[in-house]
């Protein structure tokens, strides 16, 4: 009860009724430690050899789902490899891979439904892939052609698709986190049986938006999953320069949010945790925070060379000993759901499809001049119509000054 004075409880010493509950008084002056004796534990199902760890509880996955999860992880790897090469050849301007975080991408997506809106950062294209976004659709965006759902308006990897309930990637760090809370509020108002998921990195948790979003979500009691990919590096900034807390998971309890730390390279642990988080978020109308411990095996983006600031053997160890794709493969193989013939067939076909997709995307027409002016507003105001008219007249008079590949 708010506003009551302190009451004397002989058994427990003095207790103060304070907003949020009873607070006990203590004669001992003790500061709460800033660093725990033991770090928060990390939930894991599969060990490095793809074997179930003893007594691990997890949500069973059917053969069909497990094989699709694995196939999508391999397709994601292939897509990254081909786009990365294409960028190096100067065919696209920019790219960022998800290498090392394939399990986070695919397993979290597998635990959700298409009704759950996704507010991504930019290292989660696997969620779109899981939802059926085709390699051709990815390629159209990266090449910014007329088939790109973004009409060529954003840098490569800034995907977005209404059909897949996947909100367009914003280049601003962490703005998607409060947006996810707003969308979750919309779900709550409509009484929908769905939850929002938003992804971000360890660096993003330093932004004010992260803190505001967690606080608001707790107060507004909305169904949202905050998924932090703690991959150790924000471009060149290690987490030791980013925060001094025990990672991100401990921030949740400070905001009154139920939280869990999972092994980000263990697809089964991620699948199980997201599945449970979704269930709680929807049935109890509450936010959940998940921190996945992982590693950004690739460079931050094609504008970065991470060997300049981190040891190569660190990268090597994470990409080999802790590879999430190889670990999951071992598990499905031990179940008899996968064999080496399946493997070579999948990799061959994924690469073939990917190469085809970029060839088609590269040849496709670029967006038309008119698309420069549409969607600024729902209906273009007169000054935009005048600008377009002026541009068209100028292009007609000075065609040599304009790129030939822009359809008028």
């Amino acid at each position: 009860m708010y506003g009551q004075d302190a009451v004397w409880c002989p058994m427990n010493g003095q207790v103060l009724d304070f907003p949020g509950g009873k607070v006990a008084f203590t004669p001992e002056m003790r500061f709460i430690s800033g660093s725990p004796v033991e770090r928060a534990h990390c939930y894991r199902v599969l060990d490095e050899n793809g074997q179930l760890t003893m007594s691990s509880k997890f949500k069973q996955v059917s053969e069909e789902i497990a094989v699709k999860m694995y196939s999508d992880m391999v397709t994601l790897q292939t897509m990254d490899a081909v786009f990365y090469e294409a960028q190096r050849q100067g065919r696209i301007s920019f790219y960022a891979t998800t290498v090392g975080e394939e399990a986070i991408n695919i397993a979290s997506a597998a635990a959700l439904t298409i009704d759950d809106p996704v507010f991504p950062q930019y290292r989660e294209p696997g969620v779109l892939l899981w939802r059926g976004f085709t390699l051709q659709e990815f390629a159209s965006q990266c090449f910014g052609n007329k088939d790109d759902y973004g009409k060529g308006r954003q840098m490569p990897i800034h995907y977005g698709s209404n059909k897949h309930n996947y909100f367009t990637v914003a280049a601003t760090i962490a703005t998607q986190i409060p947006h996810a809370v707003g969308a979750a509020y919309s779900l709550k108002m409509d009484g929908k049986k769905a939850c929002v998921i938003t992804y971000f990195g360890d660096g993003g948790t330093s932004e004010g938006d992260f803190h505001a979003a967690l606080n608001f979500a707790a107060v507004m009691e909305v169904p949202v999953i905050f998924f932090c990919r703690n991959n150790g590096w924000a471009i060149s900034t290690p987490t030791s320069d980013q925060f001094r807390s025990d990672g991100v998971v401990v921030r949740g309890s400070a905001y009154g949010i139920r939280s869990i730390r999972v092994d980000g390279n263990d697809a089964l642990a991620i699948y199980t945790a997201v599945n449970a988080a979704r269930e709680m978020a929807i049935s109890e109308q509450r936010p959940i925070l998940i921190e996945a411990l992982t590693y950004r095996v690739g460079h931050h983006s094609t504008s970065d060379d991470s060997t300049k600031y981190r040891p190569v053997d660190e990268i090597e160890w994470w990409s080999s000993a802790r590879d999430p794709v190889a670990r999951f493969r071992k598990w499905i193989e031990s179940n008899g759901w996968w064999c080496s013939e399946d493997e070579s067939e999948l990799r061959k076909s994924a690469r073939k499809q990917m190469l085809h997709a970029i060839q088609v995307a590269e040849k496709a027409e670029k967006p038309q001049v008119a698309e420069l002016f549409t969607d600024v507003y729902n209906v273009p105001p007169s000054n935009l119509c005048e600008q377009e008219k002026l541009l068209r007249e100028t292009m007609r008079r000075h065609p040599q000054d304009y790129p030939p590949d822009v359809p008028v």
């Binding site: 809106p117 507010f119 790109d148 759902y149 973004g150 009409k151 308006r153 954003q154 800034h158 977005g160 698709s161 209404n162 909100f167 367009t168 914003a170 601003t172 703005t175 986190i177 409060p178 947006h179 996810a180 809370v181 707003g182 969308a183 979750a184 509020y185 919309s186 779900l187 108002m189 409509d190 004010g208 938006d209 803190h211 505001a212 979003a213 606080n215 608001f216 107060v219 507004m220 698309e371 549409t374 969607d375 600024v376 507003y377 729902n378 105001p381 007169s382 000054n383």
Partner: protein, 348 residues
């Protein structure tokens, strides 16, 4: 009807007409708004649609934008637009650009509203006009009502609009009463976005103003009328889109222009109107454009200094006279020149 009642009734009617519309901000519910704009709404629509938020402008603005992405129509109240600085990333980078960047996949039907510009005696961090800031950003619509009719019609239009709207109110106008037509009291009433209003017709000089400065311009017009100068007062209503057609038509008639705003002069609304007139109808101008704006200093607190920093009615009167005087002087010069030529010829 006061401007406060006009805003309150507009919100009430739009919330009643569309269950997707909801109000959020600091103190909008239990406290009924820092300036009582949301009076009675919590009781009528409940805490789900009149949402008291924690204190983080960046937080609730981001959350409002996210709710708009996913089908709701939020009205985000800022206690003052000065505090919206913290949230400008979400207003510009998120709200204004997302429809374009998503190629029309994500529309952002949201209204950001609250008092803007100088109040009285609240110092630099509470007294600043953001019309030029938001007015320079494509993707936003920026409205600034003056009267109760403006407040009702423009706020209703803003809530119904599919694009993000920045709605700049003025604290000192909230308590002011204006007559309101029967038409404007109808719940279907709406004022088109992007259209200015001729508040007073005139033939000698055009004066553009918005928000509280419309009142000052009207007072200046009274004084000018007594001195034989007929001023046409344009209430801009919409900063973006700017109604260039109405401004141009007026200047073609009066051949003289004075712009008035409370904001800083550099890169201001007046600067934009001036260049727009020069670009489009330069040949109609008989005198240089006069720009009346706030002083180029952070707002001082002391009442005497604050008065000096804000445009006053007398400043507008003097500017209007200067433009009129220049043309009569030029006429004089022209006459004496002709006379001189004649005299020279006569001597020959």
């Amino acid at each position: 009807m006061t401007v406060r009642e006009a805003l309150n009734s507009a919100l009430d009617e739009e919330m009643s007409a569309d269950s997707k519309v909801f109000l959020m901000g600091e103190e909008v519910g239990e406290y009924q708004g820092a300036y009582k704009i949301s009076k009675g709404l919590l009781e009528k629509y409940g805490p789900e649609r009149v949402l008291d938020t924690p204190i983080t402008e960046a937080g609730f603005t981001g959350i409002g934008v996210g709710a708009a992405y996913y089908g709701l129509k939020p009205v985000v109240e800022f206690m003052t637009f000065n505090f919206a600085m913290q949230a400008i990333d979400h207003i510009i980078n998120s709200a204004a650009k997302t429809n374009y960047m998503s190629a029309g996949q994500i529309s952002v039907p949201i209204v950001f509203r609250g008092p803007n510009g100088a109040a009285a005696g609240v110092g630099a961090q509470h007294s600043q006009c953001y019309a030029a800031w938001y007015g320079s950003c494509p993707g936003l619509k920026v409205l600034a009502p003056y009267s109760s009719e403006d407040a009702r019609g423009l706020l209703k239009a803003a809530v119904r609009d599919p694009d993000p709207v920045v709605f700049l109110e003025n604290e000192l106008l909230y308590g002011e009463s204006f007559p309101v037509s029967a038409e404007a009291l109808d719940s279907s009433f709406c004022i088109p976005i992007g259209k200015a209003k001729i508040e007073r017709e005139g033939k000698d000089v055009t004066i553009t103003a918005f928000s509280k400065m419309v009142g000052s311009a009207l007072k200046a017009a009274e004084i000018l009328a007594k001195e034989g100068i007929s001023a046409e007062i344009i209430n801009l209503r919409s900063i973006r889109p700017l109604d260039r057609a109405t401004i141009n038509a007026s200047v073609r008639k009066t051949n003289r222009l004075v712009t008035v705003e409370e904001g800083f002069p550099q890169h201001g609304v007046g600067a934009e109107i001036c260049i727009s007139v020069i670009e489009e109808i330069f040949e109609y101008l008989d005198a240089p454009v006069e720009r009346i704006a706030g002083a180029d200093v952070p707002m001082p607190y002391a009442a005497n200094l604050e008065r000096m920093a804000l445009p006053q009615v007398e400043d507008i009167v003097r500017a209007a006279k200067r433009t009129s005087y220049q043309i009569s002087l030029n006429g004089f010069q022209l006459l004496s020149l002709i006379k001189h030529i004649f005299e020279v010829r006569l001597r020959i």
